[in-house]
């Protein structure tokens, strides 16, 4: 079959790889109808995530039709149309029973390695390094889904791929980030990053009833998309983030702050960003933490910082004093996808939200390598790429 494979920094190739096989009775093989390039795939593309090996099939946002099942996939049948969550979940371990699916204790087959790096590792993920199990990803014609009886979301034929595809990652990721903020009707929610996850954070905060949703970015078309979704926008190239947030909140600061940027913040004109870039280039830190620092500084005391943006390793110069003295709560983590998808599918089905708004580019899988570049450079107004194998 054909797939997109990682071969090093900036090197994604469209290649022929062996077809996946059923390896376990709970496995299924999915014939991929649509897959997407996620912002966190760019962290792999830029080689910020450790544990990748040359030839690894990438991609963790995908859906399709079940074409083969093992002997123990319960109600999952050949022919079912499914979206596959990016977190692989067994459904039986203590964490899965608590609803903490992204830290499933059994699905990461390289858990010993992950435990060494993180203390305790999280769930297995599709196409996201050998630290998360080394599972082949979904930017491919076919994918083997482990624990398939649990790791799927059945979707009705009445909805298009573009309406449901993002249930596997970015929609529940934005939703979880907003839910973690415990939004009150009087709240201002400030969201850093108007990329795809940031866009879903905006829609989620609006749906959850925030009084004001503010988005911070510098890409005009992304800000326009956020504004269309009900956000007030701040272009950090043109105005002071701090000053504008103070003005919007009568000097009190936003009660809730969401970091939808993660480890690769781009703010060319700030001193701490230059400092981070130099340290990162010298391999003295792995992640750039400008957004975290700014959130800690501007957030209203006793507020909540929610961090769906991906971080991979070590950051420097975190203002721990303000964080502690302001009594801020920090919530973060990979997304417990299955915890949210019933509600989100219902919202889509009821016509409350149509996630296809975020798709700006659709291309064949063979154009994947080019699309990585287009997405990474934000060329041609690119916000979200959907690939059709």
């Amino acid at each position: 079959m054909k797939a997109l494979c990682w071969h090093g920094k900036n090197d994604i190739r469209y290649e022929t790889v062996p077809d996946p096989q059923i390896e376990h009775s709970r496995d299924a093989i999915v014939n991929v109808s649509s897959c997407a390039i996620c912002g966190s795939d760019l962290h792999l593309y830029h080689h910020f995530i450790p544990g990748m090996e040359s030839g690894d099939v990438v991609g963790h946002e995908f859906m399709g039709e079940v074409m083969e099942v093992g002997s123990d996939t319960r109600d999952l049948k050949v022919g079912d149309r499914v979206v596959v969550p990016f977190t692989i979940t067994c459904g039986e371990c203590d964490q899965c029973r608590r609803g903490n699916y992204s830290v499933c204790e059994r699905s990461n087959r390289n858990k010993a390695l992950a435990d060494k790096v993180f203390g305790h590792g999280g769930a297995g993920l599709f196409g996201y390094s050998h630290l998360t199990g080394g599972y082949a990803g979904g930017q491919a014609e076919y994918v083997r889904v482990p624990f398939a009886d649990q790791t799927h979301i059945k979707v009705p034929d009445s909805l298009t791929d573009e309406q449901v595809l993002f249930l596997g990652d970015i929609f529940p990721t934005g939703w979880q980030a907003a839910v973690a903020c415990e939004i009150e009707p009087t709240d201002t929610v400030a969201i850093w990053g108007a990329g795809p996850v940031g866009q879903f954070c905006v829609r989620s905060a609006v749906l959850l009833g925030a009084e004001q949703v503010v988005v911070i970015d510098n890409v005009p078309e992304r800000l326009a998309m956020a504004e269309a979704g009900g956000a007030i926008t701040i272009n950090f190239d043109e105005e002071s983030v701090l000053g504008r947030l103070q003005e919007l909140t009568h000097g009190k600061g936003p009660e809730k702050c969401i970091d939808a940027v993660g480890l690769e913040s781009h703010v060319p004109r700030s001193i701490d960003s230059v400092y981070d870039r130099v340290k990162q280039a010298m391999m003295l830190e792995s992640d750039r933490a400008h957004v975290l620092r700014e959130m800690i500084y501007v957030c209203r005391p006793a507020g909540i910082l929610s961090i769906p943006g991906v971080y991979g390793g070590l950051i420097d110069k975190v203002p721990m004093g303000p964080l502690m003295n302001k009594g801020l709560t920090v919530r973060t983590g990979q997304t417990h996808v299955k915890r949210w998808t019933d509600d989100l599918l219902r919202l889509i089905d009821e016509g409350q939200i149509d996630p296809s708004f975020v798709v700006t580019h659709t291309a064949g899988l063979e154009q994947g390598p080019d699309m990585y570049n287009t997405f990474r450079n934000k060329q041609d107004g690119c916000v979200k790429v959907v690939l059709k194998p």
Binding site: H24, Q176, R222, G230, G333, V358, P369, Q379
Partner: protein
Amino acid sequence: MNLDRSRSLQGTDRLARGIGLLGIGLGLYGLLAPRSVTRSLGVEGSEALVRTCGARGVVTGIGALTEDPKPALWAKAAGDILDLAALSFLLADRDHPKRGSVKLAMGMVGASAAATLYCARAQTERHAYQGGRTPDYSGRSGFPQGVAQARGAAARSGGARPAALPSPARSPGTRTPASTSRPTSTGYVRGSDYDY
């Protein structure tokens, strides 16, 4: 540019890496063995300047290896041109004892400057944000019934309103002591080795 569409890493990306690695190598040489450089160019006593140039080469070389090599490539090209200017100043002295070495160095630095300029320009072109016309996404609200209708809709319906924060303290569902090992409905034993 002739692009190989089946892979994202193109010729100029590889060239940037090569320039970066070479820059680091030559920079380290200048930093660690400046006397060897000054001797071969007949400029003994200028070791501090050579070390500075070496440090500059290491910094721009590392920059050329990052995910955005453009600024480092332009900086390196500018540095190469400065080096060329300094070498041409030496060459202007007809009595300079190492004119041959200086000419050779000028050839090498000139080639490096040309390759770096080409690469910087190609990278800037290939990785440029589109500029120009901004696409109009003002109609992409994602709310078929409008933003006003959507505001607070989920909170009103109560469906997903903070039902379960990602915290063990507020987790839904039945909990089972982690130490308990018992057959599950799928026949596997919790806590046992799953054969992945």
